[in-house]
Amino acid sequence: MIATIVDTGTLGKVILYSLLAGVGVSLVFALGVSSAAGLVDAVRERRTLAGALWGLTTIVCLAGSLAAIVLGVVVMSSK
């Protein structure tokens, strides 16, 4: 009965992809913020290698976040 009124297949995809996108975006951005804080600490304590690794992680996470924004605009324009 429910399956005839609600498209359960699409609903399942919506739930799965919303979870992946929502948690994924928060995870990547928060990791970037945490890495930036780690970078600041490493620079302050003159730990060069740690600073380079934190910096690299920050850049990768920032790029991931920007990619999510671009993907969002593409989804909007293709509706």
Binding site: I5, L11, A21, V25, V33, A37, G72
Partner: protein, 365 residues
């Protein structure tokens, strides 16, 4: 002549609805950013208004499909559209008055459904389509956003919990500005198109546009974009206060999570053609971000009032739409009924705004 005047009234009502849609839904976009002080109130609504305007130009595909599937569009008249719009505007203003976030899209669908039922009976509204495209997503949206924001905030706290607050606060402030911008753009794209669709339907019913060559005229796009942007800039401060400070006392990580996860949920669901209400997603997200930190952090009484408003939206807007159609039809099928109702509505609106005035900017959490 009468037909032209009726068209002008319907277009005016559609743009008035668009304005209330903007100022009613500003809270979804800016409340969390204002509450956490990521953005100053006037800066937040200015950014939201500009991006709502820009968003209206991104896509016109939804505008061409308004109402198709739910209503028997072949039987829709300009008077039905007018009555539906008045019903939706009335419900938007009632919920704004009580500071309750509710879906403007549901109000519009409810208003037109009520007017359609009054005009042509049950055959004018497809019940199963209404449940499939409106009711089911309304149940899914807040629960899904609650879960996504709840899981997200636990991860965020785990990642940044032991970091120095300065960099973390600045980082999430930037994240909130980005997520506010995305939400505003998505809102402009989704909601301005509904008004464009309604105006274009009225133009088709009037005979100004051929149904076989359905297109949205440029002046319709510009006027709908302007109306929603002006409404957003006016700011529905009562609802902003409810969403930003009355559901939970928000920290900047919760604000980012509710908005960021909310934007991701809205866009992911849109990708599958399963549009969820921005209002339901953001409200559910804020509750989830609060409850995951501490269940009692959510003011469940406020949440209950909001849920009650969501449940009532379609029947209440529908009743207002049906009543409007009933009153208009007393004066026949001409333009007299809509003119009298417009004068009455403007008078009632004026007296509400004069007596209550505009609420001040929201108090920060």
């Amino acid at each position: 002549m009468h037909s032209d005047l009726l068209l002008v009234i319907v277009v005016g009502a559609a743009l008035a609805f668009d304005f209330t849609n903007g100022f009613h839904d500003t809270a979804n976009v800016v409340a969390a950013s204002i509450s956490t002080r990521a953005l100053a109130p006037r800066t937040a609504v200015t950014i939201a208004a500009a991006l709502n305007f820009a968003g209206a130009f991104i896509s016109l595909k939804v505008a061409a499909t308004i109402g198709s599937g739910i209503f028997d569009t072949g039987r829709i008249t300009e008077t039905i559209v007018f009555a539906g719009l008045i019903g939706a505007i009335a419900w938007n203003l009632v919920t704004w008055f009580f500071g309750l976030p509710s879906s403007s899209s549901h109000a519009l669908i409810g208003g037109v459904a009520g007017a359609m039922l009054a005009a042509v009976g049950r055959s004018g509204v497809k019940g199963q389509a209404l449940i499939r495209t409106v009711v089911a997503p309304a149940v899914v949206a807040p629960v899904l956003a609650f879960a996504v924001a709840g899981i997200s905030i636990l991860i965020v706290y785990r990642l940044v919990g032991r970091r120095r607050p300065g960099v973390v606060t600045d980082g999430f402030r930037l994240g909130q500005i980005a997520s506010t911008s995305m939400l505003a753009l998505a809102h402009g794209t989704n909601d301005a198109q509904k008004t464009m669709g309604v105006v274009t339907l009225a133009l088709v019913a009037h005979g100004s546009i051929s149904a076989r060559h359905f297109h949205v005229p440029t002046w319709v796009v510009i006027s709908a974009a302007s109306a929603i942007a002006l409404g957003t800039y006016a700011g529905g401060w009562r609802i902003i206060r409810t969403v930003g400070t009355r559901i939970i006392k928000m920290d900047i990580a919760q604000g980012f999570t509710a908005q960021g996860a909310g934007a991701a949920v809205i866009l992911a669901s849109s990708h599958f053609g399963y549009p969820l209400s921005t209002t339901h997603v953001i409200s559910g997200g804020i509750m989830g971000a609060g409850a995951a930190k501490r269940f009692s952090a959510v003011r469940w009484g406020v949440a209950g009032n909001i849920a009650a408003a969501w449940i009532l939206t379609i029947p209440a807007a529908g009743a207002a739409g049906a009543l409007t159609y009933g009153v208009a039809s007393i004066f026949g099928t001409g333009v007299l009924g809509p003119i009298l109702i417009t004068i009455l509505a403007l008078g009632a609106l004026g007296s509400v705004f004069v007596r209550r005035g505009r609420a001040p900017y929201p108090v920060h959490a």
